[in-house]
């Protein structure tokens, strides 16, 4: 409780601002359009502003502890639960990711013509508030609580504003995700009970478990609960079937926030909680993670190639890319975990961008069928440029954040004899993603327009990106490029933290360290200072 500083109140504001704005909008059926937008903008802007502010105030020397700590009782103290907020090197990037994608999704949603806009924006704001809380929680219970809190608006938004087949998809997604969430909740309660820490605080759990690690069997069992619980939430193969269907019918804002940010919850949990606290469990389940992740990459990769529907393709591709993050995690090394973290952030930005642009394309083509489009670039060059940028990022081209993530994960895999072979199938996955990504670009934007779409193109109804579409796209692309050029803005703090959490006696650590941060980046860094 000692180090409560005023900055920690900003954390609380970042969570509460969207919630308050959302509550106001909930009763805003009679508000004018301007009022609704103003209230929504208030809620969407604060998390990112505060995120950037806190990033600038971030104290990197506090390794192993949390910045901006805040600890409030809520009535669950008897079982060791406090509303304990704070940020460390691992949660900071995700906190910023949530703020960025939230602002982009919010800006786009504010100008989309949804039925009952006040309700739509209110739910989106609730979701954002939950997300900010998830990544700002030090208490593992509240970490879970905020995630579930963000999940319910997703369900409602899919059900109320989703496309065809939304009723089934919404229920399937909710049942699946509840199963995953409850399994991970059991895992977290098990950690609480077994550790004897009498606290759900991650700091205390870490202190207790590093002093007295749990027996191997217990670790294996708890790790299994967390792995499969979180795995379902991250659409780990073969628990992925909810994701493509859900995303295909979800309204844009929900898809952006869920695929971009909320889905990272599970990976974040494995990275921040399961990996460091249960090292023996991680070792035990290592081969499972690898094989299932390869299932994501190769099997889902091939399924993605077979998709004819743009949104289904994007949904599957987001499932596929999670495989790389799992591979990074499976190394349980500083480098692998760091790569997974970078990939999570970059993938969050790129997938949100692509989901948003796919709706922009739909508004122009009235179809998601890839084979029924073509030649759109001639009429909408900016849209084409943004979509190409998103696809390239998603494939992992240098210059975008995803590259560093995937590159680092490959480096981590190549590190030991045990994992070196995985590089080959994983690299095949990159080729697969290049094939479907480029084919989608070619089908939509180039070549001869087909059928009805040709008539629409001719008749001049099709416009390029509007201002309200350009702004969120610009924000997301800027984020991707920024991480692509300066991965260091996140990786430095994360590395310091990860070295503490994943103690490794490997002598080659410094070598890899320099691989994460190539020399040209150092050069840039010097210029900026």
């Amino acid at each position: 409780m000692g180090n409560l500083d005023t900055n920690s109140l900003f954390l609380l504001v970042a969570i509460l601002a969207p919630l308050v704005a959302g509550t106001v909008l909930l009763f805003g059926a009679r508000f004018s359009q301007t009022t609704i937008r103003a209230v929504a903008a208030f809620g969407f802007a604060w998390p990112l502003i505060i995120g950037l502010l806190l990033y600038s105030l971030f104290e990197p020397s506090l390794v192993g502890e949390y910045n901006f700590e805040l600890r409030l009782p809520t009535g669950l103290e008897s079982i060791g639960i406090y509303l304990h907020l704070g940020l460390n090197g691992i949660s900071m990037p995700l906190f910023l990711l949530a703020g960025t994608v939230g602002l982009a999704a919010g800006l786009y949603a504010m100008y989309s013509n949804a039925d009952r806009p006040h309700l739509y924006l209110a739910l989106l704001l609730f979701m954002l508030g939950g997300l900010m809380g998830t990544f700002a929680s030090v208490d593992v219970f509240f970490f879970y609580f905020f995630h579930e809190f963000a999940l319910i608006p997703t369900f409602l938004m899919i059900g109320m504003w989703g496309g065809a087949g939304r009723r089934g998809a919404a229920i399937e997604m909710t049942v699946y995700l509840t199963l995953g969430a409850l399994l991970s909740l059991l895992g977290l309660i098990a950690l609480y009970v077994q550790s004897g820490a009498d606290s759900f605080s991650l700091v205390e759990l870490r202190n207790y478990l590093s002093a007295q690690p749990l027996s191997e069997t217990v670790q294996n069992n708890i790790f299994a609960l967390l792995l499969f619980g979180f795995g379902i939430l991250v659409s780990l193969f073969p628990f992925h079937s909810w994701a493509p269907k859900g995303y295909a019918v979800a309204p844009t804002g929900a898809a952006m926030l869920h695929a971009g940010v909320l889905k990272k919850f599970g990976l974040y949990g494995l990275l921040q909680i399961a990996g460091p606290l249960l090292p023996a469990g991680g070792e035990h389940w290592f081969s499972w993670i690898v094989w299932l992740a390869l299932g994501n990459i190769l099997f889902i990769g091939l399924v993605t190639m077979a998709q004819k529907d743009l949104k289904m393709m994007l949904g599957y591709s987001s499932v596929m890319h999670m495989g790389y993050a799992f591979l990074g995690l499976a190394c349980f090394s500083v480098v692998g975990a760091g790569g997974a973290l970078l990939l999570m952030v970059a993938h969050g930005l790129s997938v949100a961008l692509l989901f948003m642009l796919s709706t922009c394309i739909y508004h122009r083509s009235q179809t998601f069928d890839l084979s029924a489009m073509g030649g759109l670039a001639s009429k909408a060059p900016a849209l084409a440029a943004c979509f190409v940028a998103g696809s390239m990022a998603s494939i992992g081209l240098p210059g975008f954040g995803n590259f560093w993530g995937e590159f680092t994960i490959f480096a981590a895999l190549a590190e030991t004899e045990l994992t070196r072979w995985i590089v080959v199938p994983a690299a095949i996955g990159i080729i697969i993603s290049a094939i479907y990504g480029l084919r989608a670009v070619a089908n939509i934007f180039f070549g001869q327009p087909k059928g009805d779409f040709a008539d629409r193109l001719e008749s001049g109804q099709i416009t390029d990106l509007q201002g309200f579409e350009k702004l969120p796209a610009g924000i997301l692309i800027a984020g991707l490029v920024l991480i692509g050029i300066f991965p260091r803005i996140f990786s430095d703090d994360a590395n310091r933290e990860l070295v503490e959490m994943y103690p490794q006696e490997q002598s080659n650590l410094p070598v890899i360290h320099s691989a994460v941060l190539p020399t040209q980046v150092d050069a840039h860094k010097e210029v900026t200072h």
Binding site: L76, E148, L179
Partner: protein, 504 residues
């Protein structure tokens, strides 16, 4: 004036044992007063004044029960030579029963708007009597007291379930409840008699003259825990209680009775009657049957697992929402049994986890039953899921209340039901009930399907042209206030569990 009254009462209570059960006595007087008022008031005034008298009378009793020294002691105390024992649990449950009978009276008022041909006064009088009897039931520390209180509750419920005598469903429900209720009372009584007989036998160690007293029986059971008759007697008593809480395999009456009974009575059965059963069960297993843990833990574990699975799986296919609430209520009984088993395995605070869960269940259930009462058509027993198509678009407020209530029942953050489940799960974990926990998780996942299926009907249906149920839901400001209060309370308890100061 108020202070004077309290002063008088506290002086009175210091010297008189009857003061300990003052709230119950007042409820009884109020019930009789209502019957008197019916005779005194002209017919035209009855509809206006009798519900008000019932509601405000209970509010006064509620305030009194928690402010007046002497009848609100949280310490462990015994009265009437051990017939009645009061502690913090019974005090909390007094509040619980008063709150639920208040809500039931209010729902009754809503119900009688549509069923105006039915007699009204008896309904309120019976609800009050049940409330008083349930309060005595959880305070009883003697099997005679237990049985008398339980029978008062049950007999009054026979009448209430069959209250809508024009409806075949209601009559059928009444008959089923009567037959199975009588059977369960018989089983319970037989168990009590067996225990009485064996505990009074001078051949056995620690035999007692007053063997129906909980404490005496506990001292007898501990050294005689391997005695077959003791085991059979305990099992029969537990079976009788399991009828009341609707645990498998004694759940058979639940769907039909819940469907046929008037909606306020269904709510009363679902919330208060179940809660009373659980508190009695807890008092039995931690009191007289304390020595039988090795024998009862496996039995109750199996019952809990079967109850969770049966309730959830059976609810999936239901289209009638009253039956759905009944079957899902069985599932909730299963989760609560988890807490009881945890308590028997030595996790003492599990009793508060159970009470916390009961309170969140009360808040959520009355919100849902309130919406059901308001949106019911002329025939109260036929409330189908299809009637809720597009409900939220027509009635945004009631739709929101329904969604929050169902979400809380499903155990979704940030609603109270989630915190309730959390406490139960943590308690079960501390008692190492891993198998039961997995079954509970499976049950919760199944329950998502039907609870969210209901929300789906009300929110996600396309605006339909055909009007299925145009009962118009004439909700008054008072209805909205009450339902809004239940919903806000659910949210507040979910966000700030300290608002419900049960677990300290």
């Amino acid at each position: 004036m108020n202070e004077l009254l309290i002063e008088f009462l506290s002086g009175f209570t210091a010297t008189n044992e009857w003061a300990a059960i003052l709230p119950e006595i007042l409820l009884g007087v109020l019930a009789l007063g209502l019957l008197g008022a019916e005779m005194a008031l002209p017919r035209s005034q009855q509809t206006r004044w009798i519900p008000r008298l019932a509601v405000w009378g209970q509010v006064i009793v509620l305030v009194l029960a928690f402010t007046c020294a002497g009848c609100c002691s949280f310490d462990q105390r015994e009265y009437f030579s051990g017939l009645i024992a009061q502690n913090d649990v019974t005090q909390l449950m007094r509040g619980f029963f008063l709150l639920s009978s208040l809500a039931v009276c209010y729902l009754g008022k809503v119900y009688f708007v549509r069923q105006s041909a039915l007699p009204k006064t008896e309904f309120y009088a019976l609800v009050l009597i049940i409330s008083a009897a349930m309060m005595l039931l959880v305070q009883s520390a003697h099997f005679v007291m237990l049985f008398v209180a339980l029978e008062t509750v049950t007999v009054a419920f026979y009448v209430l379930v069959a209250y809508n005598r024009r409806s075949q469903f209601s009559l059928e429900a009444g008959l089923k409840y009567l037959i199975l209720g009588a059977l369960s009372s018989g089983i319970l009584l037989f168990g009590i008699v067996l225990l009485y007989g064996i505990a009074g036998s001078p051949e056995l160690v620690a035999s007692s003259h007053d063997s129906l007293n909980y404490t005496q029986l506990m001292h007898f059971v501990i050294p005689n825990m391997d005695n077959l008759i003791v085991k059979i007697g305990a099992l029969l008593v537990i079976a009788g209680v399991c009828f009341k809480i609707g645990a498998v395999p004694f759940q058979i009456w639940v769907p039909d009775v819940y469907q046929g009974a008037p909606t306020p009575v269904t709510a009363y059965l679902a919330v208060a009657s179940k809660a009373a059963g659980f508190i009695v069960l807890i008092q039995l297993v931690s009191g007289p049957f304390f020595g039988l843990q090795d024998f009862l833990v496996p039995v109750l574990s199996v019952i809990a697992a079967a109850t969770i699975l049966f309730g959830n799986i059976a609810a999936v296919t239901q289209r009638n929402v009253k039956r759905l609430m009944g079957l899902s209520g069985i599932a909730h009984a299963g989760y609560l049994l988890l807490g009881v088993v945890a308590l028997m395995r030595g996790v003492d605070w599990a009793v508060y986890a159970v009470i916390f869960y009961l309170f969140t269940y009360l808040l959520a259930s009355f919100a849902v039953f309130g919406v059901m009462s308001l949106s019911a058509a002329a025939d109260d027993a036929i409330q189908e899921l299809d009637h809720y198509q597009n409900f939220a678009r027509k009635h945004p407020f009631l739709g929101g209340v329904l969604a929050c209530g169902l979400g809380s029942l499903a155990g979704i953050p940030p609603l109270g039901g989630f915190i309730g489940k959390l406490f139960l799960f943590v308690a079960a974990f501390q008692a190492s009930l891993y198998g039961l926990l997995i079954i509970a998780v499976i049950g919760v996942v199944i329950s998502i399907y039907y609870y969210f299926g209901w929300i789906r009907e009300s929110y996600f249906s396309a605006p339909s042209t055909e009007v299925v149920n145009e009962a118009a839901c004439p909700s008054t400001a008072g209805d909205r206030f009450l339902l809004g209060a239940f919903t806000v309370a659910s949210v507040v308890v979910g966000l700030l569990p300290a608002a419900l100061p049960i677990i300290r």
